[in-house]
């Protein structure tokens, strides 16, 4: 299905990532946005508030993030595409409802503009420390899809992709952007509506008596319904059977929750998007995502100037994680270097999937800024030279760390 021309603001713009994401969501047919102001994600919400009413999308600023998330799930069940926008602390508050959304298989999109954490942290500066939270933040077992864009143009493109994935797999999709990308302004080209492919909702079209909200299609995803169609929906966050009725029999529970996981796991190959460059003959592969991959480019350039064969692997979709591909590469290369704006999250999954075949070097950064590319270059160099197999993640000591803890840097006291 093509996008509705009314929703698409075709043209060339100089806008930041937040706004681009808002425009992307509207182009994808988002008709409901609930949000709560939180730095640094407000620009996206503001953009949708400005443009929403003109394209028939309703916005509401709820009283808190808990309410926003609940309203978004409610709106999705009323039949419209919906999204919410937040950042770290708000994301933590939404966790209960995200789990509920995953459980009742609600398609929605969540934009998380990550900032420095934990707690209030550094609201106006960047971080990538919610990556694991996006996968594991709610209680119980579930799977979600997470995308990490690296530029305003991608914020637009992947907002559309996020909605498409959400509709296709009936699951929450997180756009795990960060403050750098959110507040980075670049040229964004918005194509014409007929160039934009949008996934329609998989609606049930049959006699009401036959409808079972959780009866899966062959790809394990069930058909969706909306309130008010006379289907007498019974939707509960309790473990339920195909009709949606709560069950207490554990066998059902296993089968049911298992499908929530399997519908993503089995369709993994269709969902995962990674971008590789020069990995075939590489000694070291830099695995990165989001803004870190743009920062890493500089580090890679420096390392290549020093004669090291470096490839790059960029996770566009961070979750589900490309286990097999990493394992495959691990057998070929000496080491992975993972620059992240946190003290180690995705790197643990890289380490897990490398199965001891390749060393794994983490270039950490606490947030509130991005890596010094020289640190990444140093780490690559170290990784290329290291002959031993080292178990565990090697934490590269960055210039920043040396400066703060050894270099006599004085914080005001």
């Amino acid at each position: 299905m093509k996008a509705n021309p009314k929703d698409v603001l075709t043209g060339t713009y100089y806008i930041d990532g937040d706004v681009a994401c808002g425009y992307g969501a509207l182009a994808a047919g988002c008709k409901f946005v609930a949000g709560y102001p939180i730095t640094p994600s407000t620009e996206a919400f503001e953009a949708m508030c400005r443009r929403g009413p003109q394209v028939g999308a309703v916005f509401i600023q709820m009283e808190d993030e808990l309410g926003s998330m609940a309203a978004v799930i409610g709106a999705a069940w009323s039949g419209v595409k919906s999204m919410t926008i937040t950042s770290g602390p708000g994301y933590s508050l939404m966790q209960e409802n995200i789990g509920f959304g995953a459980m009742v298989e609600t398609p929605f999109v969540l934009l998380n503009i990550q900032r420095g954490g934990p707690s209030t942290g550094v609201p106006t500066k960047t971080g990538q420390a919610d990556m694991m939270q996006s996968r594991w933040g709610s209680h119980g077992d579930y799977e979600i899809i997470a995308i990490a864009p690296e530029s305003p143009q991608e914020m637009f493109d992947y907002a559309i992709k996020a909605f498409n994935l959400a509709e296709k797999y009936r699951c929450p999709v997180m756009i795990m952007s960060d403050e750098c990308v959110g507040h980075m302004t670049e040229k964004v080209v918005i194509p014409e509506a007929d160039k934009i492919e949008v996934e329609p909702r998989r609606l049930f079209k049959g006699p009401a008596a036959e409808y079972a909200p959780y009866k899966p299609d062959p790809d394990l995803v069930p058909k969706m319904a909306k309130a008010g169609d006379g289907l007498k929906l019974y939707i509960t966050g309790l473990v339920h059977d195909e009709r949606g009725y709560p069950v207490k029999n554990e066998d059902y529970k296993a089968a049911y929750v298992r499908r929530l996981i399997d519908k993503i796991k089995r369709n993994k190959d269709k969902i995962i998007e990674i971008r590789e460059e020069a990995v075939d003959d590489a000694d070291v592969v830099v695995v990165s995502y989001g803004i870190s991959s743009r920062v890493a480019i500089k580090g890679v350039e420096i390392a290549r100037e020093n004669g090291i064969k470096v490839g790059t692997l960029r996770l566009v979709t961070v979750w589900p994680f490309p286990d097999e591909r990493i394992t495959e590469l691990a057998r070929k290369v000496k080491a992975f270097v993972v620059p992240e704006i946190n003290y180690g999250q995705i790197v643990f999954d890289v380490a897990r999937c490398s199965h001891g075949h390749a060393n794994v070097v983490l270039v950490p950064h606490g947030g509130a800024g991005v890596h010094n590319p020289n640190d990444i270059a140093d780490a690559i160099e170290y990784a290329a030279k290291e002959k031993k197999k080292i178990q565990g993640v090697v934490e590269h000591k960055t210039r920043l760390e040396k400066l703060v803890f050894e270099g006599g840097y004085k914080l005001k006291e």
Binding site: F32, V58, M62, I73, G74, S78, A227, G230, G237, L238
Partner: protein
């Protein structure tokens, strides 16, 4: 619980509203059979989020009638309630109040473990009609589980109100109260003896206190623009023809035969 459902049944009948257009988000678990019979769409939300969930439903499809049933006594969801009232979202909030009250059961309450009561036993409960009224609800009423007819009447009235209506239903609570205390019949008896109908009483005066009778009745019935009204008015004023009022059928939709508006 059953009395609430049967009142809901009667109320919807009386109001003449198409059942298929009614959605009930609730944090109280209702058994599927009951819902099937009621013929509505039912969503069991996380605790306390029924009103927020309903807000999304209503805004996503203004054609729906949304009846959030709030069981957790608005402890978790109090905020959504007051804000829903302020916005005047078109919702009919059924607030099931099942507090354990000093006189009930004749047991010395201090030994009642506080973890069982939505409020610790020594805390004072909310005066819900007053709270609802003060944050802007257009319709507030209180009935006990015994007043099935009045409750049904209230529901049918409130379903036609434009804005947030709130009906507090005093009913024996979820299972665990019964399990530990076996006091349901006592409660009903208590309601019978202590409830006094006082329609149009100032909600300020209807707090439930240990020494006075419980006042029930319809307390507030006023008009205010709803959220969707103000949304449409304000945006039409500023955006003029760039804006299609929400909840109206546009030409395109008419052409495409989309009835769901």
């Amino acid at each position: 619980m059953n009395s609430l459902i049967s009142a809901l049944h009667k109320g919807i009948d009386k109001s003449g509203i198409d059942r298929t257009k009614i959605s009930v988000p609730s944090d109280i678990p209702f058994v599927p059979g009951v819902i099937k019979e009621l013929g509505v769409d039912y969503f069991q939300t996380p605790r306390g989020r029924a009103i927020a969930f309903g807000t999304g439903l209503k805004l996503g499809n203004p054609g729906l009638k949304v009846i959030p049933v709030v069981g957790d006594l608005m402890t978790l969801g109090g905020n959504h309630f007051v804000h829903g009232g302020r916005r005047n979202m078109e919702l009919l909030v059924l607030c099931v109040n099942n507090f354990i009250y000093k006189k009930i059961g004749g047991k010395p309450t201090p030994s009642m473990p506080a973890a069982f009561s939505p409020y610790s036993t020594f805390e004072e409960p909310f005066n819900f009609p007053h709270l609802g009224n003060s944050c802007g609800a257009v319709y507030t009423a209180r009935w006990t589980a015994l007043h099935t007819e009045e409750l049904a009447q209230s529901i049918s009235e409130a379903l036609h109100k434009r804005g947030l209506s709130m009906i507090e239903v005093l009913a024996p609570g979820p299972d665990y109260y019964r399990d530990i205390n076996d006091i349901e019949s006592d409660i009903l008896q208590f309601y019978y003896e202590n409830a006094v109908v006082k329609n149009n009483e100032d909600p300020r005066n209807v707090a439930i206190t240990p020494d006075e009778k419980i006042m029930v009745g319809k307390f507030t019935d006023k008009e205010r623009p709803t959220f969707i009204d103000s949304y449409n008015v304000q945006h039409s004023k500023i955006l003029k023809d760039k804006f299609t009022p929400h909840g109206t059928v546009s030409q395109e939709q008419k052409a495409s035969g989309d009835k769901n508006v």
